[in-house]
């Protein structure tokens, strides 16, 4: 008995395209910042409140502690270039966003990110991503998302291969 294979072909094309997009751009994440002052955008004093994986209309929370949320946020802002542990630590130390993290709330909550801790933090982020990728049944390996790029020397560059968007909530009308 002959069957109409068109729906199968259409579905195959859709699945292959979805895979292609996942492989080339990586998955989509949403980083939620809160305690924004009206009129500012990702300014110092805001808090990196939560991180979500966005997939097929779902928002799946990535459970990360403060230090890892900060590192993820930093890597998400620099998706286009890999950075070594020293560069990441220096970049975060120099940024007023991370130095004054969550000060708009009146409660300072910051973490000192040292060069030596980055490698371990990257492993922990990968473990957390692994859990959400499994939950969302996304066919990707975490080492393809938080990539370690080899250099000519012995330095390793870390890069987040993903589409990261930032959203703000709990806006404050004036600085306290």
């Amino acid at each position: 008995m002959s069957i109409d294979l068109r729906p199968v072909i259409y579905k195959v094309e859709a699945l292959l395209f979805e895979r292609f997009v996942l492989m080339s751009s990586g998955p989509r994440f949403r980083v939620i910042h809160r305690f924004r002052i009206t009129g500012t955008q990702c300014a110092a004093g805001e808090e990196v409140f939560a991180i979500f994986l966005l997939y097929r209309g779902q928002e799946i929370p990535v459970s990360l502690p403060l230090a890892l949320r900060l590192l993820f946020d930093y890597l998400g802002r620099h998706c286009n270039v890999g950075q070594s542990a020293s560069q990441i630590a220096a970049g975060m130390r120099a940024s007023s966003f991370y130095r004054n993290h969550a000060t708009n709330s009146g409660e300072l909550s910051r973490r000192k990110i040292s060069r030596s801790a980055i490698k371990e933090y990257v492993l922990r982020i990968r473990r957390a991503l692994d859990a959400v990728l499994k939950q969302a049944s996304i066919p990707l390996d975490t080492s393809c998302i938080l990539v370690s790029e080899q250099t000519e020397g012995n330095e390793v560059l870390y890069r987040l291969r993903a589409i990261v968007q930032c959203r703000h909530c709990d806006e404050l009308s004036a600085k306290r």
């Binding site: 002959s2 069957i3 109409d4 294979l5 729906p7 199968v8 072909i9 579905k11 195959v12 094309e13 699945l15 292959l16 395209f17 979805e18 895979r19 292609f20 997009v21 492989m23 049944s137 996304i138 066919p139 990707l140 390996d141 080492s143 393809c144």
Partner: protein, 119 residues
Amino acid sequence: MSPQLSGGAEMARIVIGGFDQPTAAQLAMRLRVGRHDVRICEAISDCDRHIIDLGAEIDLVVMDGTADPGLVDECFKGIADLYARRGRRPMLLCVSRVYHGPRFEMDLENKGARLVYVH
């Protein structure tokens, strides 16, 4: 996934399994028109072994779940376990001519697979 084709899609490696011979041949032919590399595996139970033997990266596995949806479910679970250690699991698609109810579809989706009904 190597040479790029128009529309962003690329030549993909596809394994199809569980279909009767004429349907498998017809489906393979239609997919090869899109310049995909298609391998046919007759029995669903042989699919995981077939995928291991291929060794290469598989992009998509298409199974016929008309006769034995449970077997397809098992096979997809096996593939998911196999690739848990390898990374980059293939996309999974189950095709059926018979309606198997919402639970079957939900179970498949929980494994990251999709379901399509044909007539």
